[in-house]
């Protein structure tokens, strides 16, 4: 790892993964500590594959991944200790209550039971889950399950939160609540990397946005940076995104890295 990676929440170098075709192809990506980073890209761009490799759910064919300087491939347990992963499909147990689920997750991360109880109850209240705390998850709505899963991701107070399409299926109120929770975590020093297809979320929440296409990062920077890179006349992020991904399959940019931000 480079010296700079010690200061990065997530540092990905020359990452590659191939299934039937290359899913991620020599990706370089860095998320700064305390940053809210959003990863955009069309379907099949390699976003989820990238995040799954970062969390240790997939082994890369090539490359290096570090979380706060910890090599994910060499020291997976230490890296996982400070990470949390949340996907669009809530990974919860139907027969546990939200409170039990949080105790279970806290137990997995080695949080002592007193601290776990305090944090679990705080999160339950914070995410508006108090009325469901003693009910089994099998009867909860998709949005409520997603909030329970988010609480699970936060109960061990990770330094890096990795989210894959966390707003899928959430109603407006739940989506706003989740956004607020993530913003507050970032304000407290936590780092977040998130994929989304909801461009408005990226526009409003991200400090920086990365645009992936064909397994590579084709553009990166703030919204203004991206607009500049996409060229004149792209007023909205949607226009900018479409312009970048239309030209971002490698034909325009011969190099592996993104357009300079």
């Amino acid at each position: 790892m480079t010296e700079g990676s010690l200061h990065s929440a997530l540092d990905i170098r020359d990452l590659a993964k191939r299934f039937d075709r290359p899913a991620v192809d020599g990706l370089d990506l860095r998320v700064r500590a305390g940053e809210f980073y959003t990863l955009l890209g069309p379907n099949g761009a390699g976003k989820t594959t990238t995040l799954r490799m970062a969390t240790g759910l997939l082994k890369p064919d090539r490359g290096a991944i570090a979380v706060f300087g910890i090599d994910v491939l060499a020291e997976p347990v230490a890296a996982k200790q400070i990470m949390a992963w949340l996907s669009d499909e809530p990974m919860i147990y139907d027969r546990l209550t939200p409170l039990e689920y949080l105790y279970f997750v806290a137990g997995l991360w080695g949080v002592d039971s007193d601290t776990a109880e305090t944090r679990a109850r705080d999160l339950i209240g914070w995410l508006g889950l108090a009325q469901y705390a003693q009910e089994r998850c099998e009867g909860l709505s998709k949005g409520t399950r997603q909030k329970v899963a988010l609480a699970g991701a936060l109960v061990h107070e990770p330094r890096l939160i990795i989210l894959d399409e966390p707003f899928t299926g959430l109603d407006a109120a739940s989506a706003r609540l989740v956004k607020n929770v993530l913003r507050e975590r970032v304000a407290q020093g936590c780092s977040v990397i998130m994929t989304t297809h909801i461009l408005e979320v990226a526009e409003r929440m991200a400090d920086r946005i990365g645009v992936m296409c064909g397994g590579r990062l084709v553009a990166e920077g703030t919204l203004e940076d991206l607009r500049r890179q996409a060229g004149a006349g792209h007023a909205t992020l949607e226009d900018t995104f479409l312009a970048l991904t239309d030209t971002g399959s490698g034909q325009t940019h011969s190099g592996r890295g993104p357009i300079a931000a």
Partner: protein
């Protein structure tokens, strides 16, 4: 072209789905397996015919005119077989209500749900008949060879029995829906199905044990007491047995009865299936249930969290619990045997050893599948700061704990009776359970826990290896009771199953 929405159209649709499901079941979705499957089926058919011949060849003179003893044996066997068909039919009917599949699509269309369910009930009868005929065919063919072509009439009797079994299952399930509602019907119907499937076998074993102190399942049918108390030769109770032995009129009567009962069930129940399936759909989506045990779930370490989670999930899922423990119903006869011996009636405790080892291996395999392949949040576990080895160890401990809770008391009872038998049984249970867990680990595949009943479909090699391992360990246990030295050979064979299973297991990077 068949008109859409008609009974014929639904029948074509159902037949196509059933055929593809069956083909997938055999080939595992791989077309290249076609020849291997055909070869395997051929070998199975030959083996079953050989087994049937060895069983029946010297049993009695099947060409002779039927006497009461033969009627009791044939009638009893048919009743035993029918109880298994009824069990299968109950399962199939329950699945038709609760498995959503294409139900939401069809129920939301303008097509008649009554017609669909009429076809589905008929398809169930065909499916049960086909499966039962396939299993009974070797015995029927051998009977026809030994006793004459008139025994082929038994095929018709099996078909009629399938029709009656499905009709009764449909009516029973609808009655359960009305009586206890959709929420409880699923669990009750599945338990009833399993109990029906097991109870007759258990009953026969129990009576055999209580009467002559053996585990023979056919002893009951040959006992003078039963023959003396059986109905007279002219009784209508013997109609199916008479039909199976080639009485043409009896066969027509049995087939007509089956068809009428099935048609009646379809006529009466099919129109109601739509509303019942909708009610069942509400249950599938789950309802909020308060829990009062939250306070006790405070794991202190990752391993403890994983173990407690496995036990809690199993404890809170009555269906899974019943499915896992149902095979333990077969432990009832040994339990009775044990209790009798405590009162000094007999000294056949050695019979218990293989039964307990076999059952422990099967239970461990089921629990291991739930803990390893049936993990509902695999990504959560994989992203936790716990080594894979620690996760597998905790899951294996959860399996061992479950097996210990179930078998501990019985083994303690046995050890009090005979310490050596206790030691042999404990060793057998440990190795059979560990082997089954290892096999499930090697053949793990991420699937929903609700697919527990069909877990054998995902890997027939794993199912076969698990059963083979348990059987050989049970055999080793039985031999060890006689001589520990002689048990080394079956023990080595049982151990050899493991590397073979490992070699056949899917390789992971």
């Amino acid at each position: 072209m068949i008109k859409a929405g008609t009974v014929a159209w639904f029948a074509q649709h159902e037949t196509r789905l059933a055929w593809r499901d069956w083909a997938w079941l055999l080939s595992g979705g791989r077309r290249r397996r076609g020849y291997a499957v055909m070869l395997g089926l051929f070998a199975f058919v030959v083996f079953m015919h050989g087994f049937a011949y060895l069983t029946l060849a010297h049993a009695t003179d099947f060409a002779a005119p039927p006497d009461k003893r033969l009627l009791v044996t044939i009638g009893g066997t048919l009743l035993l077989y029918w109880s298994l068909m009824l069990s299968q039919a109950m399962e199939a009917v329950t699945r038709a209500f609760y498995a959503r599949g294409d139900l939401d699509l069809i129920l939301s269309s303008s097509a008649s749900a009554g017609r669909l369910f009429a076809v589905r009930i008929a398809t169930m009868a065909l499916g049960i008949a086909a499966m039962s005929l396939a299993l009974a065919a070797p015995a029927i063919n051998v009977l026809a060879w030994l006793g004459g072509a008139h025994w082929l009439a038994a095929y018709g009797v099996v078909m009629a029995m399938a029709m009656v079994a499905v009709a009764i299952s449909v009516m029973l399930t609808v009655a359960l829906f009305r009586a206890i509602g959709p929420k409880r019907t699923r669990l009750v119907a599945q338990i009833v199905a399993a109990v029906i499937g097991a109870s007759f076998v258990i009953g026969v074993q129990l009576v055999a044990i209580l009467s002559v102190g053996t585990l023979s399942r056919v002893a009951l049918f040959q006992s003078e007491v039963i023959i003396d108390h059986a109905p007279d030769r002219d009784s209508l109770w013997w109609l199916p047995a008479d039909a199976a032995m080639g009485n043409g009129l009896a066969l027509i009567a049995v087939l007509a009865l089956g068809a009428i009962v099935l048609a009646g069930a379809i006529r009466f129940c099919a129109p109601r299936f739509g509303e019942l399936a909708l009610a069942a759909g509400g249950v599938s989506h789950g309802t909020a249930r308060p829990s009062r045990r939250t306070a006790n779930f405070r794991p202190k370490s990752p391993g403890q969290a994983l173990r407690r989670k496995e036990w809690l999930l199993l404890w809170r899922d009555p269906w899974l619990m019943s499915q896992s423990l149902m095979q333990l119903l077969y432990l009832l006869p040994p339990f009775f045997l044990l209790s009798r011996m405590f009162y000094g009636e007999g000294n056949s405790a050695a019979l218990l050893v293989p039964v307990l080892i076999m059952a422990a291996g099967q239970l461990a395999g089921g629990l291991a599948w739930l803990a390893i392949s049936g993990e509902d949040a695999p990504d959560l576990i994989a992203t936790a700061p716990v080594t894979a080895a620690r996760v597998w160890r905790a899951k294996a401990e959860a399996v061992a704990g479950g097996v210990g809770i179930v078998f501990g008391p019985i083994v303690v009872g046995l050890a009090i009776l005979d310490p050596m038998l206790g030691v042999i049984t404990v060793c057998g249970i440990v190795v059979a359970g560990a082997a089954a867990t290892l096999i499930q680990f090697w053949f793990r595949a991420q699937v929903k826990r609700s697919l527990f009943r069909r877990r054998h479909v995902s890997s027939r090699i794993a199912t076969f290896a698990e059963a083979l391992s348990s059987i050989i360990w049970a055999g080793a246990g039985a031999v060890a009771v006689v001589s520990l030295w002689f048990a080394i050979f079956p023990g080595v064979v049982a151990l050899a199953v493991l590397p073979v299973a490992w070699l056949l297991s899917p390789k992971r990077p």
